[in-house]
């Protein structure tokens, strides 16, 4: 059994407890459980201060034993185009489509990642409202 306490940000695996926020300084936002793997999208803590928060890989893949297999999801994009300014974006939504990790970004980007390795396959603007 795997138990997730969203209020405390703790994940209880069979024989260990992962204090998610204490370790990663992020709050659990979304969880997908698929084929005995747990995918977690995390972000800034909502209702409490989140000092020293950094934009970084915010998609986590764990196995049933609580072992972190990879972190992924961050994009570095020149935004606005031609500005010469590159921003680091965390994923804002997470899905699994056609056995690929499909991530969306709140500034209107979408990206596909290899679900086994977490490697970026493709990223592009959504151009959809």
């Amino acid at each position: 059994m795997i138990k997730i306490e969203f209020v405390t940000n703790n994940i209880y695996f069979e024989d260990k407890c992962l204090m998610f926020h204490n370790i990663f300084n992020k709050q659990i936002r979304d969880v997908i459980y698929l084929n005995e793997f747990i995918f977690i999208k995390a972000g800034r803590r909502i209702h409490l201060p989140n000092d020293n928060y950094k934009f970084e890989e915010n998609i986590f893949k764990f196995n049933n034993e609580g072992e972190l297999l990879y972190r992924t999801g961050m994009l570095r994009v020149e935004y606005p185009i031609g500005s010469g300014v590159f921003e680091d974006w965390e994923a804002s939504n997470m899905s699994i489509v056609d056995n690929q990790l499909y991530l969306g970004y709140s500034k209107g980007y979408e990206a596909w990642f290899d679900i086994e390795t977490g490697e970026l396959i493709k990223a592009q603007p959504e151009n959809r409202k």
Partner: protein
């Protein structure tokens, strides 16, 4: 009086308009031709015909025998035309049209080619009694100023260093003052020249308006004199200066807006009023078609800053190819305070006044912003914007911004605004599970009467490739930069809905509620 000693032969047979009989004759003829009649026995100059039958000429178009010290008579030089159409003759034609006095005509003859051509072109392109009055007033003031000199001369006003304040106002400090017991002249600290007169000068002479000013503004106290100002901000032309008692900014505005109600004021030229340490410059066209007096009742004026000085113009209608800062004068504690509002970028907007609010409308009449009770709000939804954050921009500008943010299909149509929200704002967004938190949102009030998704897609041009099965309610925190404007017609949809683009990171934690479409439309 005949020119050059009173004989025709002294005019050397050259066409010329001297003083006296010749002048009166030409005045009649040119006056008629100016209003469209044709003089007979004439030759043409720039479309103006005049009679040569009783010309009394002087060498080189000079000023006649009485003016030989003022005009270069030898060698003959025609700076702005040939022998016939030279500057002196042009000056005389203008003098005839305007019925200038001897001194005024003499002054005009001495002016540069540029000045004479300015008046000629102005009168050619502004065919009205008001335009004639304006030109005449300018020349009258210039003639008076021509008497001013920093060197004491008999009969002239001498400006001497004598710093002080007009009407004891801190914003009206001058360095030099001079008087001839009738007129007072001040050289202001900001470089402008101010003159007061006990009687209205021709700048304001226009029948009823003059009479009204005489009864309302003139009085025995110095501050009720008629004031005039000339500065680079008025293009170095004289303008009426609405200056009254030391604490009467409101009175000055009241007077100005009374003028605004008068049709007569529409073409009378330029007015300048001091507001705090700014001067506000109005032209007659600023009032055209606008119930401007109500702006005063609402206690506010929207301004654009004239580059290069502390001079403001009311923003009634503007079309700019550059970024123009905007200011708003708001009523605080009985006075007016100028505050930064934002800027205009390459867009034409209009204003209207409804229920004591100033509305700023796009070319198609969509409300972009308004000021009510000194509070600036954006769109018909009255979103409070931070002071100084508002930018009016054109369709090209907003869509260029969107393109750089990866929205290739131009999402906006017509003028739009950029602003920073003053307080948290509620929005809704139609989406699917994969894109709940994206920049484009709308106000609930714009979709709550829709009965199905097709209506939403049509109003906001939401592409059918964008699968939508949910509606989320967002609370966007204060201090977020947003763009707002009308949705373009795209993908076969009509557009026209009023959409918002939240700039920056959208946090899904801002979602308070998510509904299915069925729940929403039910």
């Amino acid at each position: 009086m005949l020119c050059s000693g009173g004989t025709n032969s002294s005019c050397n047979g050259k066409p010329h308009i001297p003083e006296g009989i010749c002048f009166d004759s030409f005045q009649h003829c040119f006056g008629d031709s100016y209003v469209g009649r044709t003089c007979t026995g004439s030759f043409s100059s720039d479309g103006i015909s005049y009679d040569t039958s009783n010309s009394h000429n002087t060498d080189g178009g000079g000023g006649g025998t009485s003016d030989n010290n003022d005009v270069n008579t030898s060698p003959v030089v025609y700076p702005c035309g040939d022998e016939i159409h030279n500057c002196t003759k042009k000056a005389d034609i203008i003098a005839s049209i305007l019925g200038l006095s001897y001194d005024e005509r003499k002054w005009l003859r001495k002016q540069s080619e540029e000045t004479i051509l300015f008046y000629e072109n102005y009168l050619d392109t502004n065919l009205s009694i008001e335009a004639e009055n304006w030109a005449k007033g300018q020349i009258e003031l210039e003639t008076l100023e021509d008497k001013f000199s920093k060197t004491p001369t008999t009969g002239k006003i001498t400006l001497t260093y004598n710093p002080g304040k007009i009407n004891n106002r801190d914003d009206q400090k001058y360095t030099h003052h001079g008087t001839n017991a009738v007129y007072n002249v001040y050289h202001m600290e900001d470089g402008s020249r101010v003159m007061d007169s006990p009687t209205p000068l021709h700048l304001n002479s226009d029948g009823n308006l003059t009479a009204r000013w005489t009864t309302e503004a003139a009085g025995s106290s110095p501050q009720d004199h008629y004031w005039y100002i000339k500065s680079p901000e008025t293009n170095n032309q004289w303008a009426s200066y609405l200056l009254k008692s030391p604490t009467s900014t409101a009175d000055e505005l009241s007077l100005l807006f009374q003028l605004g109600l008068e049709d007569l004021a529409l073409t009378l030229g330029t007015y300048v009023i001091p507001v705090e340490d700014f001067k506000i410059i109005f032209t007659g066209s600023d009032f055209n078609g606008q119930p401007t007096s109500r702006w005063l009742a609402a206690g506010m004026l929207l301004m654009e800053v004239v580059p290069g000085g502390k001079m403001l113009k009311p923003l009634v209608k503007t079309s700019k190819v550059v970024t123009t800062p905007l200011k708003i004068a708001v009523k605080e504690g009985g006075g007016y305070v100028v505050k930064s509002l934002g800027k205009v970028v390459n867009v034409e907007i209009t204003t209207s006044v409804i229920n004591d609010a100033i509305q700023y409308l796009s070319e198609t009449g969509v409300e972009l912003a308004r000021v009510t009770n000194n509070v600036l709000t954006v769109s018909k939804h009255k979103i409070k914007a931070k002071t100084g954050s508002l930018v009016f921009m054109g369709e090209k500008e907003i869509n260029a911004i969107m393109k750089n943010k990866n929205y290739i299909d131009a999402p906006f149509k017509g003028a739009a605004t950029e602003f920073v929200s003053e307080q948290p704002e509620q929005f809704v967004r139609f989406h699917n599970v994969a894109n709940p938190d994206r920049p484009f949102m709308m106000k609930l009030s714009d979709v709550e009467n829709f009965t199905n998704l097709d209506q939403v897609r049509n109003a906001f041009s939401l592409n059918t490739s964008n699968i939508i099965d949910k509606v989320s309610f967002f609370t966007i925190p204060a201090g977020k930069k947003m763009y707002a404007g009308t949705a373009n017609d795209l993908y076969g949809f009509s557009g026209g809905g009023y959409q918002f683009f939240i700039d920056g990171y959208i946090d899904d934690a801002w979602i308070s509620t998510t509904k299915t479409l069925t729940d929403f439309f039910n």
